[in-house]
């Protein structure tokens, strides 16, 4: 029986639809065609490091980092509360937590558009109390809010799943040895939950860094993150070389941060994805 041959059609599929397309992106980022034919160039990468584009990268990283931190600060206590509930309540709450995630992220983002817009409910409610706000929609804060809203479950669920697995006996031992609750948290619970925190951080930071939809809908047409810049290069300006170079940098950033997190997880758990 040569059952392993069954994997070959899929292998071919991966080569055609995953490896070749990615190779094409790399190809377009370092080669350019002109009258003289195809030749190697680093022009596209040089452009990525021009101040205006560099500022877009920095802004994207800043917004993704703020969203990740807010998600962590809001999500960690939530994960602890969920993990502390008794079994029947726990499963209901976790399901309730997951349901909004099942709705399309466009829908979730759009829902905030309706709340934040000029004639929206929040502006009306604030207006009722005599507070007039400048524009809520199309601001940086609206983008961060949208990211936190969309990605909060990605932070809570990994932390939760690590917290439920913590052996209660370890906590009891710490208490028996006289540790006050704060110390139990700082010295036992938190270090044990770090693998969950690191996967939560990746799962929030990555999509926050690469999105172009949340920034477009909640930040407006002129709010540019890396994702928007890449989209523009391919759909509006049609500058494939530069767009490809931006994509390569984005991929490298993601692989790099993933590598750090994975190594970290390996130290903690022994054997991550790779």
């Amino acid at each position: 029986m040569k059952k392993h041959l069954l994997a070959y059609p899929y292998g071919l599929w991966i080569v055609i639809f995953t490896i070749i397309p990615l190779a094409l992106i790399v190809f377009y980022s370092v080669f350019t065609t002109d009258a003289a034919g195809i030749h190697f160039t680093l022009e596209h990468f040089k452009r990525v490091f021009e101040p205006i584009y560099l500022s877009v990268f920095l802004r994207s990283m800043k917004i993704a980092a703020i969203s990740t931190i807010v998600c962590l600060l809001l999500g960690y206590p939530m994960a602890m509360i969920l993990a502390g509930k008794n079994l029947s309540k726990k499963s209901i709450l976790v399901v309730l937590f997951v349901i909004p995630m099942w709705m399309n992220f466009l829908a979730r983002t759009y829902a905030w558009m309706t709340l934040l817009e000029k004639n929206g409910l929040i502006a009306a409610a604030l207006g009722f109390f005599g507070i007039s706000v400048p524009s809520l929609l199309y601001t940086e804060n609206a983008v961060i809010l949208g990211m936190v809203y969309n990605f909060l479950p990605f932070m809570v669920l990994p932390i939760y799943s690590v917290l439920v697995k913590i052996d209660k006996a370890v906590l009891e031992a710490a208490e028996d040895l006289g540790a006050p609750p704060m110390t139990v948290f700082r010295r036992v619970i938190f270090p044990l939950s770090l693998p969950g925190v690191s996967s939560g951080v990746i799962m929030v930071f990555m999509p926050a860094l690469t999105t172009f939809v949340i920034s477009r809908l909640l930040g407006g047409a002129h709010f540019t993150l890396i994702g928007n810049l890449i989209e523009q290069q391919f759909l509006t300006t049609r500058d494939w070389g530069f767009g490809a170079a931006l994509s390569v940098v984005l991929m490298l950033m993601i692989m790099f941060s993933m590598g750090i997190a994975m190594r970290y997880e390996k130290e903690n758990e022994g054997g991550g994805l790779w």
Binding site: M1, K3, H4, L5, L6, A7, Y8, P9, Y10, G11, W13, I14, I16, F17, T18, I19, P21, L22, L24, I25, P77, M78, I81, L93, L96, F97, I99, P100, W102, M103, N104, F105, L106, A107, R108, Y110, A111, M113, T114, L115, E117, G120, L121, A123, A124, Y149, L152, P207, L209, T210, F212, V213, L217, G227, F234, S247, M251, I254, M258, L273
Partner: protein
């Protein structure tokens, strides 16, 4: 207890944050005026208008057709591939598994753009077929990753016993292996379907004029501003999601129940 009170309030606030936008969206889909802040009376006219909207209906049709076809094809290729990968030697197995993770880990925007470049270069007109190929591509890992664990649990001796008792490999596969891995296949199929229905970014880059799924239509409508028709559409989609969740949940608990009975 002050502590439980704080916990309750915190839980309540987080859930309010998660659900308030969705609930407001649903409530205002029944509002008779276009206003999103003032309730002016109950109406179903936005739902009626939504069903009359040609663009929405066409994109609904494409969403369903593409999700069904892509996840069916991905389930077949993926299940076969999972069996193949499972029977590979250590090194090729590790390579294939890591390659399978690649599209899951890669940012959607990069996957979408890389496929777009491929389709443009091979002069495949972008539309239904290119979008279908893209969907199969990102669905495959979910099928494989759901079938693989079931294969690992498989007891090979049962299959060997079937062969010893005179079953042909094909017959033994159908009667022994398939029934045991079918829950994984079904989960993979459902996951692939959900991913397909939910996808925006990859579809956005791989489709062409005239063919769009619901997510693309919502995006192009939302870019122009808020409209009650979208509210109606999203409320229905939310209802659909809850329904699907109930079905899956039912299935899973049934599966688990069966497993416990066997053990």
């Amino acid at each position: 207890m002050v502590k439980t009170a704080i916990k309750r309030i915190y839980t309540f606030l987080i859930f309010l944050f998660l659900y308030a936008p969705i609930i407001v969206l649903i409530i205002f889909s029944f509002n008779s005026s276009k206003s999103r802040a003032h309730w002016t009376g109950f109406t179903l006219k936005w739902y009626a208008e939504m069903f009359r909207d040609q663009q929405i209906m066409t994109s609904l049709y494409y969403t369903i057709i593409i999700a069904l076809t892509a996840s069916l094809i991905a389930t077949v290729i993926g299940t076969v591939a999972a069996i193949g990968i499972h029977n590979m030697k250590k090194l090729p197995k590790a390579i294939m598994t890591n390659l399978t993770y690649l599209p899951v880990l890669n940012p959607d925007i990069v996957t979408g753009i890389s496929l777009m470049i491929l389709f443009i270069l091979v002069k495949l007109p972008r539309g239904f077929f290119s979008m279908l190929l893209a969907h199969i591509t990102f669905n495959l890992p979910y099928v494989i990753l759901s079938v693989m664990p079931k294969l690992k649990q498989l007891d090979n001796q049962v299959y060997d016993a079937a062969l010893d008792l005179g079953a042909t490999p094909g017959y033994a596969f159908m009667k022994v292996i398939l029934p045991q891995i079918s829950p994984g296949i079904f989960t993979g199929f459902l996951l692939a379907m959900t991913m397909s229905i939910d996808d925006f970014v990859i579809s956005f880059f791989t489709t062409g004029p005239g063919v769009s799924n619901l997510a693309i239509t919502i995006y192009s409508m939302a870019r122009k501003g808020v409209s009650p028709k979208i509210n109606a559409l999203l409320s229905l989609m939310f209802a659909g999601v809850i329904l699907m969740l109930l079905v899956i949940n039912n299935r899973m608990s049934r599966d688990n129940g069966r497993k416990e009975n066997v053990v």
